[in-house]
């Protein structure tokens, strides 16, 4: 016989035990976990992954003496090298596609791939924003149709579609308020913002020229209505309020709050970051608000993309609608669409343009596909399941974690806990980093500011009961260790691509670009 010339002898593997990280490898890689250099280290200035005609040396140029003598110092890679580089980088990221991503107030829901497909249809993706109206009727139709459903879902008068992100939408809403006040000859100086608000609220109000005053939260995690009423007066332009708020609670007094602000001559801006909790069940217009931005990348599932692009249309009350930014889409009697731009009829009272072109079309197509996919029944189920999931997490953990505001009643779509009860020296950060080792993205930490060591958990409607049970089990175990003072928690994460990073060193001597 010819006895096994390959030399490969199948056998049962022996049990392996290794201390700590185990033996180092010569590459620094660990099987599927591959280290990757920077393009400046692996690429070269002459390499190129695109086939282009070689420039002819004789061609005369009309560059007016501005020609450059050498190409920019940018490294290039061939296509296979490039694909490998970015594929390796991608594997160092956590993502919704990998697991539960319970980042409070961020609404990390599933991003349907149908939306990606429709956004890439040539009739949307390959359109220039300044094509003549007769060649873009379908695109204007998308904007008009999405606008219609946003207005319908919020019970408002109209919507400004051009803001490019949530904070940009906030700015749009506050500028509408300012324009309306100035138009009635009553410019006011102060914008009221609850202390639990997201940082963009005061930053936006200050940017729009307002003096920002904080209104404290009451003991129940809701705005202190008495303090608000006491502060209202002829110098108050309005109130920026988040509802459901950043503590995960519905502002029960919302209708009365709006009435009080209106009675004092001000307007109410609602931060719509948490609209997912109520979509399809509550129309913010019925509460009496004047403006609210809608994060299409939260409630309507457009991808977060590692930090944008977002999209932040702003729904407006009848009082603020005339001041909406340019451009906007109108429908003629014959059913055709027009864009109203600078100098066009009807642009008169608008406060002006707040970005080039017409907004985040690539997000509009995705959001419209999402709304149509869910329909009226599906959207009500979205908010219902989102709230159910959050309450399930809240009740499953409240015996080991302090829930400062939700003892008595339900929360909305996110559950808020504090670090009370942790052993001395153990923090919310330790819990967050330990969750990474368990295979979860941490919750939002240290926000809102009104709760010490805040942990804000928003599971969204896209998690199954099994996924929630696994998460609850992991978090419970970690919190028990934090309460008991298990020192090993400070070492987490142990199994991520990187251990805890030195943010102090990064900030003291910032290195923001690569250099040899």
């Amino acid at each position: 016989m010819n006895a096994n010339p390959s030399g490969w002898r199948p056998s049962t593997p022996e049990a392996v035990t290794l201390d700590g990280e185990g033996a180092p490898t010569s590459t620094g890689n660990r099987a599927l976990m591959l280290e990757e250099g920077l393009i400046f280290e692996i690429g070269s200035l002459n390499n190129c992954g695109v086939d282009l005609p070689t420039p002819s040396a004789e061609t005369s140029t009309r560059l007016g003496g501005m020609s450059r003598s050498t190409p920019p110092a940018l490294p290039g890679l061939s296509e296979p090298e490039m694909v490998r580089h970015y594929t390796r980088l991608s594997r160092q990221n956590y993502a919704i596609d990998l697991g539960l991503f319970p980042l409070g107030s961020c609404t990390m829901k599933h991003n349907p791939r149908l939306n990606e497909k429709v956004a890439r249809m040539a009739g949307f993706a390959d359109l220039h924003p300044l094509q003549p109206m007769n060649s873009i009727q379908g695109a204007l139709g998308v904007i008009d149709e999405l606008a219609h459903w946003l207005v319908t879902l919020t019970g408002m008068h109209s919507v400004a579609m051009s803001p490019k992100a949530g904070a940009h939408g906030e700015l749009c809403g506050v500028l509408c308020i300012r324009a309306a006040l100035e138009a009635r000859g009553d410019p006011r100086e102060v914008m009221l913002v609850p202390s639990s608000a997201h940082g963009t609220n005061p930053a936006t109000a200050a940017f729009a020229g307002y003096k920002v005053e904080a209104i404290p939260a009451g003991d129940d995690g809701r705005i202190d209505f008495a303090a608000l009423k006491a502060r209202l007066g002829p110098d108050v332009a309005g109130l920026m309020i988040t509802n459901p708020n950043t503590c995960g609670l519905f502002e029960r007094d919302m209708i009365a709050i709006c009435e009080a602000v209106h009675a004092a001559g001000g307007y109410v801006y609602c931060d719509g970051a948490n609209f997912n909790a109520i979509v399809g069940r509550v129309r913010p217009g019925d509460l009496g608000i004047d403006a609210m931005h809608i994060n299409l990348h939260k409630t309507f599932s457009t991808p977060h993309g590692g930090g944008g692009p977002g999209s932040g249309p702003v729904v407006l009350s009848e009082a603020l609608a005339p001041y909406a930014p340019l451009p906007y889409v109108t429908k003629a009697a014959d059913g055709s669409f027009e864009l109203v731009e600078e100098g066009d009829e009807g642009a008169g009272e608008s406060f002006g343009r707040m970005a080039a072109f017409h907004g985040q079309m690539g997000m509009f197509t995705r959001a419209l596909a999402y709304i149509l996919s869910h329909g009226a029944d599906g959207l009500a189920q979205v908010s219902g399941d989102a709230v159910l999931n959050a309450n399930y997490v809240l009740r499953a953990l409240e015996d080991v974690m302090e829930a400062p505001f939700a003892h008595a009643g339900p929360c909305m779509h996110e559950a808020l806990f504090s670090d009370e009860g942790f052993a001395k020296g153990f923090s919310t950060l330790d819990v967050a980093k330990a969750l990474i080792d368990e295979g979860f993205h941490p919750m939002t930490v240290y926000f809102p500011l009104v709760v010490h060591g805040a942990m804000l958990i928003e599971p969204t409607e896209c998690e199954s009961k099994a996924a929630l049970d696994e998460f609850i089990g992991a978090l419970r175990g970690i919190v028990e260790r934090a309460r008991a003072g298990d020192e090993a928690l400070h070492l987490a994460p142990l199994y991520a691509p990187r251990a805890r990073l030195d943010e102090t060193a990064a900030a003291r001597k910032p290195k923001l670009v690569w250099s040899d």
């Binding site: 944008g308 329909g375 993205h441």
Partner: protein, 452 residues
């Protein structure tokens, strides 16, 4: 509903665990007057993937896509070929469905990409540093005006007439509310990029001079001359680049003396997308870093000494500084930055130069052929891939008519500057590597026929 994993049985079990009678009971805090007692009116029920796709395809079909016609539009948005690998990679779920890298240990992919992106932008612009991107070029331009005010403590910004009118419009809107003084006039139809007239307006109150390069009419202003004059008055030069491919052929604004360089990155990797989402680029001198808006990614080490990346200098930002932040901006344009970075990595410096050369070659060809039309002239002495034609007729009406004949001829100045009589006959024509010589001939023929 296909996106919702809970089963009716799960919901029942979970409600029992919570001790609630129904999902509706969890909405007890909502005033009953505001709680709907049925589904949203007029919105149909849920729809299948196939039905939604069909609806969207019908709307898409009502547009003339750029690829279906001889196409010559630019004016701040350019049609370039995006390699197939770019769109494939940005759809990897680990990039597409990740969030802002607040937990750096599990976001090194996004963070390293941003660090590479910042370096690419800084080098492209000839600046020391760049941020992790802004919403788009027009909003980045406003942020530069605000930043120049913070640095110089002066409140008057001088905008060149060659600045994109939408950028100027956005800046004027913002300035109304912040109290900045903005000096801006529409351009006139002249081959002269207007450096001397601009320099004459700079004074000791000027915070910055903002100059687009190439400008809205495609002209190439002498940035070095303007930089020198601005610096002599203690003002900053802010350069705006709406066509980054140009920087493969012309000298970088930083090298010519610009203190801040901002612009639109859409040309590289992002695509037209009917105007958004786009990609704001923002770079400056390192001494101004603490006045910079937007996210910044920086290099550091982890607890075991390995190189890693984090978001840094975040005390400038709204979530910490609240009403004292440098900007209210909360996001960047992450996925578009990724597309830009991937495409730029494929090109490299030599590829970008070759791409730019091809754009310029075709633009020169188009300009020569169009200039031969009777009554038509090319305004520019200098240009990169876009120039201004002066027609013997109203350009906006001509563009509309040509679109009906299946030719997307360019951007009329009437569209960009409504009501400016002196500009009504101007037509901006952009030519890129996606333009074929047949397309150019089709445009020449179509205009000739309309003018006959």
């Amino acid at each position: 509903m296909r996106y919702l994993p809970l089963t009716p049985a799960d919901r029942g079990d979970m409600l029992s665990a919570i001790g609630a009678s129904s999902i509706e009971a969890l909405f007890a805090d909502v005033p009953s007057a505001a709680l709907l007692d049925g589904p949203i009116e007029s919105l149909p029920g849920h729809a299948s993937e196939m039905a939604v796709e069909r609806h969207m395809a019908r709307l898409a079909g009502q547009n003339t896509a750029a690829g279906e016609a001889p196409f010559f539009l630019g004016a701040g948005a350019y049609r370039h070929h995006v390699p197939a690998s770019v769109d494939h990679l940005i759809q990897r779920g680990e990039f597409l469905t990740a969030y802002t890298p607040y937990q750096p240990e599990i976001a090194q992919g996004t963070l390293q990409m941003l660090f590479e992106f910042q370096t690419q932008v800084a080098r492209l612009y000839g600046c020391d540093i760049a941020n992790a991107s802004m919403y788009d070029g027009s909003t980045a331009a406003w942020e530069a005006v605000a930043m120049a005010r913070r640095i110089t403590k002066r409140g008057k910004a001088l905008l060149s007439p060659g600045l994109h009118p939408h950028y100027a419009g956005n800046i004027k809107t913002m300035a109304k509310f912040t109290g900045d003084q903005i000096v801006y006039d529409a351009p006139s139809l002249s081959a002269d990029a207007g450096e001397d007239a601009l320099i004459a307006q700079i004074d000791g109150e000027t915070s910055c001079v903002m100059v687009q390069y190439p400008d809205i009419l495609g002209r190439l202003p002498d940035l070095a001359k303007i930089a020198e004059a601005a610096h002599a008055q203690g003002a900053l030069l802010v350069a705006v680049v709406t066509e980054p491919v140009a920087l493969g052929a012309i000298r970088s604004p930083g090298e010519l003396g610009a203190d801040i360089v901002v612009g639109e990155g859409q040309s590289i990797g992002v695509g037209l997308q009917f105007g958004g989402p786009y990609l704001g680029l923002f770079a400056c001198r390192s001494e101004h870093v603490r006045h910079m808006p937007g996210r910044l990614c920086g290099e550091t080490v982890d607890a075991s000494g390995k190189r890693g990346f984090v978001l840094t200098l975040s005390t400038r930002e709204q979530h910490i500084r609240r009403e004292k932040a440098t900007s209210n901006i909360c996001t960047n344009s992450g996925l578009c930055a990724l597309a830009f970075s991937i495409h730029m990595t494929l090109l490299g410096g030599t590829g970008l130069a070759a791409l730019a050369a091809e754009n310029h070659r075709l633009a020169c060809l188009a300009a020569d052929k169009l200039a031969e039309l009777p009554g038509v002239s090319v305004l520019n002495d200098s240009f990169f891939n876009e120039f201004c034609l002066v027609l013997p007729t109203d350009a906006r009406a001509l563009v509309r008519d040509l679109a009906l004949d299946g030719v997307l001829a360019g951007v009329s100045l009437g569209r960009l500057y409504p009501g400016e009589e002196g500009l009504a006959n101007g037509l901006l024509v952009a030519v890129t590597e996606t333009t074929s010589e047949d397309d150019i001939d089709a445009l020449v023929t179509a205009i000739r026929e309309k003018l006959a």
